[in-house]
Amino acid sequence: MHELLLFASVPVHQHHELLQQLAGLTAMQPRHAIERRLIFKAYRKPGLITGRVGGSQDLQQSGDLQRVNKMLNGSMFYTQVVGPVSEKELGPASTSMSTSVPAPDPDTPMAGTDESKPPAPVPNAAVPDGEASAYDYEQQPWRLEFRDIPEAATRSAITTRVMASAALPRGDIVPSMNAWGYGFVTEYLVEGDIFIHNDIVIFLHRVLHYPSSDNEPREPRRNLTALKDMEPLEKTGSYVLQASITVQDGTNQETMKTASQHLFGLREQLKSAVRLEQADRLSLDTRAK
């Protein structure tokens, strides 16, 4: 499968307005989405590369060996394991103010509140006792979401990359990922709104961090933190607008062209509001060095 994408950075003060504009454009209400995203990185046994290079020079004759050597030098990748969570599972919603707390409140910019924030609470403390919707890690559904580095085509002004998406079993996915050759790196939360415009999925989102603690956990969290205690990666609270089309058969030039045209069409429609652009290829480089 292939994925075609355009991106735009959306300052926090424009977020509300853009939501309304997108709702108008797509004729649908935004669908709120919160996702846990776990980043995994392929690992290789240490020392293998050095051990191999010296000894292999005189053994290149065998085609099989050559193939193995080529494979050993092949790319390795970062890949994501993504699971949807509901706001309820994150912890109790604040009762006093708004219901969706990190929604940009322009009168109190995120940057200000962040600095004045008291020390972050222990994640466990956010989980209420006896709450019916308490988070159950064992029941968390997951998907493996793989993205290759974007293709290096210069002629097109659109980010194009190979993708794969596969459902995984629920619960603790780390043992399987480890056995398959992936090690856990870190995790974050993505919070945003989804619109569907014909074949385009529009996702207006931002990255949220768990409240920082001294020791970064070495495995995915089993408890979540209330949304209001999460900290945006971008301190001003800005959003990323991502417009994407998935193409089943990326070798079909015709469908790829059609998809690009649709994305360009959307770029034109949103021109007055945001500037959708191709992303810097290296910023989406999933290769693990």
Binding site: A42, P46, M76, P141, R143, A166, P169, V185, Q242
Partner: protein, 349 residues
């Protein structure tokens, strides 16, 4: 999850297989009333090996030959709700702290214990006996399990295989694909028998032999325990649950082991009646019964806490352009027989 046994009769690439002999002996050994053809079944199995392990030992003179690691993907038509992925446990626990991701190579604190001079894979002191032997010891304890079973939705089976061949070349190398395209299922008394020729389709097409799965369909604690926990997972009525708890809470793991042993002898007896020589047997393979014991543990230990926990709502990941989640009512179904198939299909090319 019924108790099963799997037999494999290898054959030479160009010779005929044992299938016709087997079918004939089955027919002659049992009366017609007992012998009911049921339909067809099929199997697909892909064997992957760790790529570094494929280098000849001479390529790295100073290095101890590492234990081969395998990844096996199996799909059975009689367990259509998921595919099975069985992977050798990693010898070290990988962890990449985000800070190290920027600069440091793959050497991380977690595996830094390996002496760099040797340059070999971690010698993993926990590594016990290799599981490549086709013998069937009575070792069904989870502690000895060195391969990890994962079940994935059918749609993920192919996608994940493609992912491993595309993105994991430095550590996974596709070695073989074998299929049973046209197996036959019979009900014979208390047994259900699945027969079929195993054909290798990749890298070259050839016949590998004949495979036979013998499933005990008579009364079995293991089977009813599996069924009961499945009913619980699908969220059935509470009174059913409590009844189940009472009857199974008295079971011990030893009872499960005994059940497997007893049924294994029934299956062996059945197989012996056919008088076929040269078969490799997989019944009490390592790791068998793991899921059943876990279920038992949950039934016994959890008490009221487990009852009728509803699965999380289905959800869609639109943010990454994904497709909806599928729900597998009983992800553990068929893991025992999958282990047995994989045991005999772990060919050395």
């Amino acid at each position: 999850m019924p108790v099963t046994g799997v037999y494999f009769i290898p054959s030479h690439p160009n010779a005929s297989t044992a299938l016709s002999t087997l079918t004939e002996r089955l027919r002659s050994s049992f009366t017609d009333e007992d012998f009911i053809p049921l339909g067809r079944w099929a199997l697909d199995h892909k064997l992957m090996r760790d790529t570094p392990g494929l280098l000849p030992a001479s390529a790295n003179p100073g290095q101890r030959p590492s234990k081969p690691r395998y990844m096996q993907l199996l799909s059975l038509t009689h367990y259509p709700s998921h595919g099975f992925i069985y992977t050798s446990e990693p010898t070290e626990k990988p962890f990449h702290p985000p800070s190290a991701a920027s600069s440091a190579p793959s050497a991380t604190p977690a595996n830094g214990a390996v002496s760099p001079g040797q340059g070999g894979p971690a010698p993993a002191p926990t590594a016990a006996a290799s599981h490549t032997s086709a013998t069937s010891q009575g070792g069904a304890s989870a502690a000895e399990t060195q391969m990890l079973m994962t079940t994935v939705p059918p749609s993920s089976y192919k996608t994940l295989f493609q992912h491993f061949t595309y993105a994991c070349q430095p550590f996974w190398c596709h070695r073989l694909t074998v299929t049973v395209p046209n197996g036959v299922v019979y009900d014979i008394g208390d047994f259900r028998v699945r027969l079929g020729d195993v054909r290798q389709t990749w890298p070259t097409a050839r016949v590998r032999g004949t495979i036979v799965e013998i499933e005990w369909r008579g009364p079995s604690v293991v089977d009813s325990l599996a069924a009961a926990s499945q009913a619980r997972r699908s969220g059935s009525a509470d009174d059913v649950d409590s009844g189940v708890d009472l009857s199974f809470s008295v079971l011990e793991e030893a009872d499960i082991d005994a059940e497997y042993e007893a049924t294994a002898s029934l299956i062996r007896e059945f197989w012996a009646r056919l008088g076929v020589q040269g078969a490799r047997e997989a019944i009490l393979v390592p790791g068998i019964g793991k899921e059943i014991k876990e279920k038992l543990g949950r039934v016994r230990g959890a008490g009221r806490d487990v009852g009728g926990r509803s699965l999380k709502d289905e959800a869609t990941l639109a943010g990454l352009g994904g497709v909806p989640f599928e729900d597998d009512i009983d992800p553990a179904a068929g893991t025992d027989v999958a282990r047995q198939y994989m045991e005999v299909l772990r060919f050395n090319r």
